[in-house]
Symmetry: C7
Subunit: 74 residues, 7 copies
C-alpha cells in the first residue's frame, strides 16, 4: 500500500484546523485535538458551517467516526 497510510493525515492534522463533512451533509470546522482507530474525533472551537459560513458555534465536541464522510485540513 505504498509508504503512506490514510491515518497519517489524522496524525499530521493534530492541533490544526480541519473541515469535516458528516453523513447528511452537515459540515464542521475546528481544531482537531484527538482521534482514535474508529475515526472518532475531538474538535475544539468548532463551528457548524452552511455554504462555508458559520451557522452555529459548538465549541468542544466529540464526533462519532461512523458519521464522518471526509476530513480536510482547513
Amino acid at each position: 500500500m505504498g509508504e503512506n497510510r490514510p491515518f497519517d493525515i489524522l496524525n499530521s492534522s493534530l492541533n490544526k484546523s480541519v473541515i469535516i463533512r458528516l453523513k447528511g451533509g452537515t459540515e464542521l470546522r475546528g481544531k482537531m485535538t484527538a482521534y482514535d482507530v474508529h475515526m472518532n474525533l475531538v474538535l475544539q472551537d468548532a463551528d457548524q458551517l452552511e455554504n462555508g459560513e458559520v451557522k452555529r458555534k459548538l465549541g468542544t465536541m466529540l464526533v462519532r467516526g461512523d458519521s464522518v464522510v471526509f476530513l480536510s485540513p482547513a
Copy 2:
C-alpha cells in the same frame, strides 16, 4: 494518536450538561450521567431541542450509541 483520546471528553463531561445530535437531526440537551464503549449514553433532565428551543421535556433517557452524530458540552 497523541496523548488525548476522544473518549476522554465523555469522561470529563460526566454529570455535566451536554448537547447531543442524533442521526435524523434531532438534538437533545441534558446532564450525562453514564456512558459505555458503544457510546450508549444516559441523560438526566433531558430536553428535546428544535432550533435551540426546548420542544419537549424527556427527563431521564437512554440514548443508543449508534444514533449519535456528535456530542458537545453545553
Copy 3:
C-alpha cells in the same frame, strides 16, 4: 466510566412504563418486561403514539434493538 452504566436504566425500568423512539420517528409507549444485550425489548400494553396521542394499540410487542433511538421512563 464512573459507577453507572447505561444499561442500569434498562434494569431499573423493568415492569415500568417507558417511551421508545424508533428510527424513522415512530414512538411507542408500554410496560417494558424484558430486554437483552442487543437492546431488543418487550413491551406489554403498548401504544403507538403520534404527537403524544395514542394512534394505535399494539398490546404485546418485541422491538428490535437496532431500531431503537432512545428510551425514556414515561
Copy 4:
C-alpha cells in the same frame, strides 16, 4: 436481565398470528412458523397490510431479520 428474555416472545408466538413492521413502513400479518437468532422469520398465509387492510396476499414468506422493526402477536 430478569427472568424473561425478548426471544421468549418469538417462541411463544410459534404457529400463531403475528403482525410485523418492516423498515420503510411495510406491515405484514401471518402465522409465524419458524425463526432464528438473526430474527429471520417464516410466515404462512401472510398478507401485506396498508392502514390495517389487506393490500396483497403473499402466502408463505421468508422475512430477513435485519428488516424487522417490531413484531406483535395479532
Copy 5:
C-alpha cells in the same frame, strides 16, 4: 426454535419460482438456483416487477443478501 428453520424455505424453493422484495422497494421474480448463508441468491429467467407487471427482463442475476427484505415462493 422448534423443528423448522427459516433457511429451510430457501432449500425447498431451489429451482422454483420466487418473488423477492429488495430494500428501496424493487421486486424481482425468477427461478432461484443458488443461495448462501448471507442470503446471496441467484435467479434465472428473472423479471423486475412493478405493481405485479413485468417492467424489465433481467435473465440470470446475482442478488446481494443484504439488499433482500423478503422472499416468497411465487
Copy 6:
C-alpha cells in the same frame, strides 16, 4: 445448499459484460475483470446507464461491494 453457489456466477462472468445496480439506483455496465469475497468488483470500459441508455463513460472502475444490489450478465 445444493451444488451451486451464488459466487459461481461471479466466476463465470469474469471478462464478460455485466450490468450492476447500486444502492440509490445507479446502474453500470462493463466488462468485469476482478472480484473478491466482499463483492468488490472491477469493471473495464464501464458506462453509467440511465433508463438503459449510456449517460456517462467511466472506463475502468472499482465498485465497492457493499454498494451492490444485484449483478446480471449483460
Copy 7:
C-alpha cells in the same frame, strides 16, 4: 477469483488522478496518495465536482472508506 484482485486498481492508481463517487452522490477528483484495507483514501489537490464541473477546491483530504461507492482513474 482469477489472477486479478479489485485492490490492484487502488495500487496502480497511487499518485494518479481518480474520480470518487460517495454515498449521497457527491463526486470528488484528486490525486490518490494513500489507501488502506477499509478503502479509506487520501486525495491531494482534490476538487468537489458537480455535473463534472469543479464546485469547490478541497486540497488534501481523507475520505472514509464506507462512504465510497466507486473509484475510477480520471
